[in-house]
Amino acid sequence: MSNKYIGQSVTRLDARDKAMGRIKYTDDMCDKGALVIRVLHSTVANGIVKKIDTEEAEKIPGVVRVFTCFDLEEKHYYPTAGHPWSTDPAHQDIADRLIMTDRPLFYGDDIGAVVAEDEVAAAQAIRVLEKSVEYEELPFVLDAQEAMKEGAPQLHEKYPNNVLAHTEIHMGSVEEAIKEPGLTKVEGWYETQPVQHCHIENFICYAYGEGDRTVVVTSTQIPHIVRRVIGQALGMDWGKFRVIKPYVGGGFGNKQDVLYEPLCAWISIQLGGRLVKLDVPREDTFISNRIRHAIRYHITSWMRPDGSFAARTIKAWCNNGAYSSHGHAIAAKGLNAFPQLYPCDNIDGETWTVYTNRSVAGAMRGYGMPQASYAFECHAEDCARAMKMDPLEFRRKNLMPVGYYHAFSKNELYSDTFNQCFDKGAEIIGYYDKVKKYKNQTGDIRRGIAVSTFWYNTAVYPIALETSSCRIVMNQDGSVQFQLGETEIGQGADTAAAQMIAEELSIPVSMVHPVSCQDTDITPFGTGVYASRGTYTLGFSVRQTAMLLKEKILEAAHQFTRMPVYNLDLIDGKIVRTTDGRELMSIGDLALSKLYTTDGSQHLTAESTYQIKSNAYSFGCCFAEVEVDIPMCRVRLLNIVNVHDCGQVINPLLASGQVHGGQSMGIGYALSEKLMWDEKTGRPLNNNLLDYKLSSFMDHPRLNAAFVENYEPTSAYGTKGLGEPPACPVAPAIRNAIGAATGLYINELPLSPHTLFREFSDAGLINDPWRKEEQGKEGR
């Protein structure tokens, strides 16, 4: 396929409007007369709300209503995950939430809500209400493994020992395999921390009545799913709700959960359809939206003298927080990746998803793979070192081989992706020279370079439904509008789709216009964007629909050109007679003629659904070069290169931007970000952007993205997932580079000064004489 528009760095279609401030986000669209909702959060980590005295709060000027958990007449428990619905109850998400609860399970759980005329009155009311709640406090537990112990506080009756789910994998026999003589055993614990998405646009939604329905406008990745969940949460027909999704200022998976849309819709209904807006303050996003799971891993490998794996085991404990959200899917993804990334005949693995009294963990860019990649790639590095092999060569030897076929997903590794990515990345960063150069350093400031890789796939087939629908409507001048269920959330989905349509219809991208805001009344059904699926899944329905439209265009052309359809084609905006290449008429003339003809007028439009029954591996690697200032306990990232094989790159500029964003999130994950709770009270400690150390522009070196483009054979346009993969390999690459610089390979995140100070002290890299004296004194 020779491409004219695909593979070009077309300027994203919304770039100018965004730069000029003309784009309307949710808050821009809301009428300024909206009443303001603030959620009342629990200030205990586990307990029972006995009473909420609302009298004083209601007296505050500007306060309209105070709702509490006791105002819920019907309790409809609902699931929040942005998964496609399953008609099979066994595959449905756990329905464990209420829009307000009298049984708070974490500090920050939703126990009530204030409706006020403005934010000031709402904030005043919340401050008063927080002091007016009577709780019966219960013991709480914050750690996943502690929560599984006998006698630990129980969060949900149906899940004894707080285990939401436990799954295992077994291949061959580890017990037999480790009897082989001459094996080297490497064992490690790897600990990842909870972090938050920190998209620029906080979660926000508003609701109002229209006819006998409620309209909810929300900053979401998944408008059609939101409509379903509002119906479930309120115990009403799903069609009673219309959900509109405007432009979104980032989602990263947090907006792949239904957050406050049901509460907002419920409040609007209580107030007779009044316009109410719920704009979550930044501080609350850390507590009562979603976070990334902290997962603890234990991995053991037995290696033969040639560096191959004889047997491997993995155990993983996934801290899910107080409610199910995405359930076991995140832990399961990591466990299933384990035998695929480094195949071995003998593997035992198990993983637990565990409820704790912490903020709820859900989807966040990478869906369990940033955590798993950290564990896998720290461990791979440790194995290579134990075998005294070059870490890159060790990986080349042991990674998934070309031709690997995964029976369940039907994924296949068609190309030599790993080696191609390694070669390209190594050349860009100068890996081999620097490895030599940085050997045997001494002194306070040392440098190191290292690599890591990751496992990822595209879309959710065969675990869940994959469906995509597209509608294309042609105007009188031959330009088109298109609509898709795959949402634009900043990643550039609209632009990629426009390039595909331009390619298929052979018209310039400037004639292809996205209807960017999804509206469940208007937009064809779609489940939204998540799982790095957008460009892959929409490609199928876009191509199919554009082909349908093209068929109609050529049929119409037959009417005006008298030529048979099989001798006609659409080339560069012209109807061309293929037998001699003559341009017979322009697409604009054709569209105009077809609409206004008095003989068979027709509105040229096409719409179709494609159900996707394939998935695709999307692999790559990251090289990181660091400088470690040992006395200062600080790491400076000097250089970073990600190389991805996401198949055919639709838009190199947008793809690079996607990689840069993932690298940026990976840098914070590696070096500074960590959500913390007070062990004594369960209260979040750093739920603001000052104390939560999201990495800044000044903490980034130049970000380098490169691609290896192996055309994906299952894909409509040869493309596959790139949304999440860039965030996955960064932290382990940085960890391994710090190890290369200092000899200390640290198995936890983040590698902040706090962690480094402790590790450097323990290893004797820093030696404070006064601390020895103090410790000596204490000892006596």
Binding site: P631, C633, F697, S752, P753, H754
Partner: protein, 295 residues
Amino acid sequence: MYDMKALYEAESVQDAVRLRLEHPDAQILAGGSDVLVQIREGRRAGAEFISIYMLDELRGVSIDEEENIRIGSLTSFSHITKDPIIQKYINVLGEAVDMVGGPQIRAIGTIGGNTCNGVTSADSASTLMAWDAVIELTGSEGTRRVPIKDFYIKAKVVDIRPDEIQTAILIPKESYENCFGHYIKYSMRNALDIATTGCSVNAVLSDDKKRFERVRIGYGVASPIPIRAYSAEEFIKGKEINEENIKEFALTVLQDVNPRDSWRAGKALRQHISVVMAERALKECVKLAGGEADE
């Protein structure tokens, strides 16, 4: 929207003094980069405020008739960094305040606000302490001057009387003459952060650049208010410039540095970094003064 009970806009320094007396419960608002955040957090919600932000007479850097460097209290961080007088005589102050927040904060935040806040982590504070700055306050009975070490009373409390506003910060000539300084901010990220700890050192070397004639060292977040490490200053005074003396100087700071242990950072880390910063900052001062510090 901010939860303010009232906002009084001062039209002159005298007007501000009058408003202070008329509204004893009102709080002073300068650039607002701290105060507005605290209103939003609820800490200052519902309070009365006297804004002095329009008082242009409190902006700018000059050399006064006593040859003090005079920094108007409303001078913004970004102004200070770019000011030629600052760059010539006390460049370290410009560098220190260039580490506050991000560009927007530095354009609105003022050095007066930074000191009147009374917080130990203020990026200007350790440098002003280390350069023996003098605070000028204006009240109904005219102006008075307070050495900065006395201006800080305890955490979040400074010596401003009920009728006063801070009008200038002065750096005396004997403080800045032949003096070279360096500030190290230790924070968890390189922008938009407050100091986990910070250290500002300045030195006057002997004419032959072989000895320390005078060294001063100030710390932020080493104690509830900004402090000086006098023991270390005393130790190094008159000593030869060499590795051993600089290391000993750095270790001596622990006699004065007493950081707290919190979830934000452990005491041991802060102590350790205090020593490393002292050594590195002093070496940098020697270099700036034209001496040689490394073996």
